[in-house]
C-alpha cells in the first residue's frame, strides 16, 4: 500500500515529439493518496490507459518521475513495483484450472504453499467460484473469466495498488453491478489504493472516493462525485458528467450579470472583466426551469420533449443556442409563451473552457463556490 506521486510526468508514443499535440499524456503533477479509490474517467483516447500503464510500469514515461511513498519507481518493473492490474478483456491461462490461475501470481512470488492455499480458497469463495475451482479455465463464460482476472489481482493483498483498466466492459449488466459492489467491499476490507479506469460515469461515480476526469491527455479535474456535478472545473467535465450534460452558452460578462443571446442573466457572484477570450456560461439542465405564470424569464422555443422515465427533458432554443431543461414529474409545460429561468447560484462562468473564480459572492451564495 502506497501513496503514488506523479512528478512532471508526460508521455509521447513518438520517439521525438515535436509539440504538445504529439503527447498522449501532457505534463502533470498529482498525488494519489494511500488507500483511496480513484476512478479515471474520460472518453476513449484521452490517455487514461497510458497513465495507468505508466503507473503499473508496463510503459516507461518519456519524461518525469513516478514515486511510491517517496521512492522513485520510474525505471522499475511492474514486479518490483508490486502492482496488480486487471485488463479490459479477460486474460486467463487456458491450460490451468481456475484455482491454478489464482495461485499463479502467488507461486511466482514464492509465497509458501499453505498461505497460497488459504488465500486462493478465500478468493474463490469471494468470487463465488468455489464450485468451479478444479475446472479448466478455458471453458468458462466471459463473466467468469473476468472474475478470475480480477481474482488474480486481488489475491495478492500486500500490493501497493490495484489498477483496473475498464474491467467490466465484457460483463453482463446485472453482473457488472454485483462485481462493482464486490470491488467496493474488497476495497473497504483491504484498503488498497485502487485506480479504476472507465468511460462510464455511473461506474466512476459509484466506485470511487475521488474521480479524476481526463481530457486530451490532461487531468481537467479531480474531485468527489458531488464536486464534479456541482462545480465542474472545465466545460468538458460539465458536458461529460451528468445526463444530459451541462448546458454551455456563449455569453458576455458584465460584472454581476451576463448577456446570453441578447438577454441579461443574473449571476450568483461578481466576476472580473475578461477580454479577448471565449467566455461561456454553464448551467446544468437540473437547474433550469420553466417559469410559473406571470414570472419573468428568458423566451425560448421548444424543439422536442423526451420522456426518460423519472422526468422529461425539454430541448429548447434560446436565440440560436440549444439548451436542455429537466422538467420534474408532474410539472406541466404550458402551451405557448415558453420562458425559462436559470438558478443563479448554480451558474458557472468558463473562460477558454476553464472555470472562472468570482471576485465575491452575493446573497449568501458563497457556500456553493
Amino acid at each position: 500500500m502506497a501513496q503514488i506521486k506523479l512528478d512532471q510526468l508526460a508521455h509521447s508514443y513518438y520517439p521525438h515529439p515535436k509539440g504538445q499535440e504529439d503527447y498522449a499524456l501532457k505534463a502533470m503533477d498529482y498525488l494519489w493518496d494511500d488507500g483511496r479509490a480513484y476512478a479515471l474517467l474520460g472518453p476513449s483516447g484521452c490517455g487514461k490507459t497510458t497513465l495507468l500503464n505508466i503507473i503499473s510500469g508496463l510503459l516507461k514515461p518519456s519524461q518525469g518521475r513516478i514515486l511510491f511513498d517517496g521512492e522513485d519507481m520510474t525505471m522499475r518493473t511492474p514486479e518490483e513495483r508490486n502492482i496488480a492490474q486487471v485488463f479490459q478483456f479477460p486474460v486467463i491461462y487456458d491450460t490451468m484450472t481456475v484455482a491454478q490461475n489464482l495461485e499463479f501470481p502467488l507461486v511466482n512470488r514464492g509465497v509458501d504453499r499453505a498461505e497460497v492455499k488459504k488465500r486462493v480458497t478465500e478468493m474463490l469463495a469471494t468470487l463465488e467460484l468455489s464450485s468451479k475451482a478444479g475446472l479448466r479455465a478455458q471453458g468458462l463464460t466471459a463473466d467468469e473469466k473476468q472474475k478470475i482476472s480480477l481474482g488474480r489481482g486481488l489475491v495478492r493483498y500486500d500490493v501497493n495498488a490495484i489498477l483496473f483498466d475498464e474491467p467490466l466492459t465484457v460483463i453482463d449488466p446485472h453482473m457488472k453491478w454485483q462485481l462493482r459492489t464486490k470491488l467496493k467491499e474488497l476495497h473497504q476490507r483491504f484498503g488498497h489504493t485502487m485506480i479504476y479506469v472507465t468511460h462510464d460515469q455511473t461506474e466512476a461515480l459509484t466506485f470511487a472516493d475521488k474521480v479524476v476526469v481526463m481530457y486530451e491527455g490532461q487531468v481537467v479535474q479531480i474531485g468527489t462525485p458531488e464536486e464534479l456535478f456541482e462545480r465542474p472545473a472545465h466545460t468538458f467535465v460539465g458536458y461529460f458528467i451528468g445526463s444530459p450534460g451541462m448546458n454551455i452558452l456563449p455569453c458576455e460578462l458584465r460584472g454581476y450579470y451576463a448577456v446570453v443571446a441578447g438577454h441579461p442573466v443574473v449571476l450568483g457572484a461578481d466576476y472580473q472583466k475578461v477580454s479577448g477570450s471565449r467566455v461561456e456560461l454553464g448551467i446544468r439542465p437540473e437547474f433550469v426551469r420553466f417559469v410559473r405564470a406571470g414570472e419573468q424569464g428568458l423566451p425560448v422555443t421548444i424543439d422536442a420533449v423526451d420522456d426518460v422515465g423519472r422526468h422529461r427533458i425539454a430541448k429548447v432554443r434560446l436565440g440560436g443556442h440549444l439548451l436542455n431543461v429537466i422538467v420534474p414529474e408532474g410539472q406541466e409545460i404550458g402551451a405557448t409563451d415558453h420562458r425559462v429561468v436559470l438558478d443563479s447560484n448554480k451558474i458557472g462562468i468558463y473562460v477558454n473552457d476553464h472555470r472562472l473564480q468570482p471576485i465575491r459572492f452575493r446573497h449568501g451564495a458563497g457556500a456553493s463556490a
Binding site: N53, S56, G57, L58, T77, P78, E79, I83, A84, Q85, F87, Q88, F89, V91, Y93, D94, T95, M96, F104, P105, N108, R109, R136, S149, R152, G153
Partner: protein, 288 residues
C-alpha cells in the same frame, strides 16, 4: 405429429461435387485396388489373386526396410523441425521493418521447386566441388554422401530441415502474432518468468497451428520422394530408399503392378491412420 416433407432435390446439388471427387479420387483409387487384387500377363488379361500381393508385401524384408527408414526419417525431421520452427518464430521480431524482411527470408526455401532443392543439395554436398561437402572434408570430417549411408542420411535430413522448417516457423509466427498484448502484460504483472510465459501463454495459444504444422509435416515427409530421389537416388545401396522411392522402383522399374498397387493401398491407409490418431489425440486434449 407433423411429417417433415422430404426434399430429394438436395442430392442434385451435391452431385457436381460427387462427380469431381469420383473422377479425381475414387476412380483412380479403385483402379489401384483393382490392380492390387489381380495379376496380369498381357494387356487386358487379368487373373484374380485375392490377397496374395498384400501377403507378399507384408512379409517382404524390402518393404519392412523401406517402412522402417520412412518412420525413422519422419521421426527425426519432426523432432528437429517443430521445436526449431517454434524457436525461430519466438526469436523473430514482432513489429518494425524487420518483420517483412524475416518473413520473406523464411518463405524463400518454400518457393523453390522440390527437384531444384534436390539438385542444389546434390551439388552443395559433393565432397570434391560442393561448398558443404568440401568444407566438411577440409575441416577434417570424412564426408561423402554418395558412399556413406550415415553421411547420406545426414544430408537428406539437413536438406529437409532447410527446406521445411520455414513452414513451421511461419505457422508458429502466425500463432504468436495472434496473442493479444494484454496476455504479456498480465504475465508481467503476475511476475511470470520467460519460461512460464512460453509454457502457459505462447505454447497453449500456438497449439492449434502447431497441430496443423505437425500434420502437414508428417504427411509431406511421409510421402517424400523428389528431393531424396534427386539427391541420392535412394542410395548408397538402399540406405535412403524411403517408401515412395521403393514404390516407384516396384511399379516403374520392375513393373510389378500388383505389388506396387498393394503397397500404395497400405501406404495410403497408414498415412490416413497416423493422421487420424494425431488429430483425435490432440483434439481430445483440447476439449477436456
Amino acid at each position: 405429429m407433423t411429417v417433415k416433407p422430404v426434399n430429394q432435390k438436395a442430392w442434385l446439388l451435391v452431385l457436381p461435387v460427387l462427380l469431381i471427387v469420383a473422377l479425381n479420387a475414387i476412380i483412380p483409387l479403385m483402379t489401384v485396388v483393382n490392380y492390387s487384387l489381380q495379376d496380369t500377363f498381357s494387356p487386358g488379361v487379368f487373373f484374380y489373386e485375392g490377397t496374395k500381393w498384400y501377403q507378399d508385401v507384408l512379409s517382404s524384408p524390402r518393404f519392412h526396410g523401406a517402412l522402417g527408414r520412412q518412420f525413422l526419417f519422419t521421426g527425426i525431421i519432426l523432432l528437429i523441425e517443430i521445436p526449431l520452427g517454434v524457436a525461430v518464430a519466438l526469436a523473430m521480431p514482432r513489429k518494425g521493418p524487420w518483420v517483412s524482411v524475416c518473413l520473406v527470408l523464411m518463405a524463400l526455401p518454400l518457393l523453390i521447386p522440390w527437384n531444384v532443392v534436390g539438385a542444389m543439395w546434390n551439388i552443395f554436398a559433393l565432397p570434391d566441388i560442393g561448398l558443404l561437402g568440401y568444407g566438411l572434408n577440409w575441416l577434417g570430417f570424412d564426408y561423402n554422401y554418395t558412399q556413406q549411408p550415415v553421411a547420406a542420411w545426414f544430408t537428406v535430413v539437413l536438406m529437409d530441415v532447410w527446406h521445411w522448417t520455414s513452414l513451421v516457423v511461419l505457422l508458429a509466427y502466425a500463432g504468436l502474432s495472434s496473442i493479444p498484448d494484454a496476455y504479456y502484460q498480465a504475465a508481467k504483472i503476475d511476475g511470470a518468468s520467460a519460461f512460464a510465459v512460453l509454457r502457459y501463454i505462447q505454447l497453449p495459444k500456438m497449439k492449434r497451428v502447431l497441430i496443423i504444422a505437425l500434420l502437414l509435416r508428417f504427411m509431406d515427409s511421409f510421402m517424400i520422394y523428389t528431393e531424396p530421389f534427386v539427391l541420392t537416388g535412394g542410395g548408397p545401396g538402399n540406405s535412403t530408399t524411403f517408401l515412395s522411392i521403393d514404390l516407384v522402383k516396384a511399379a516403374i522399374g520392375e513393373f510389378n503392378l500388383g505389388i506396387a498397387a498393394a503397397m500404395s493401398i497400405l501406404y495410403f491407409l497408414m498415412t490416413l491412420l497416423v493422421c487420424w490418431v494425431f488429430y483425435t489425440a490432440m483434439m481430445r486434449g483440447d476439449e477436456s
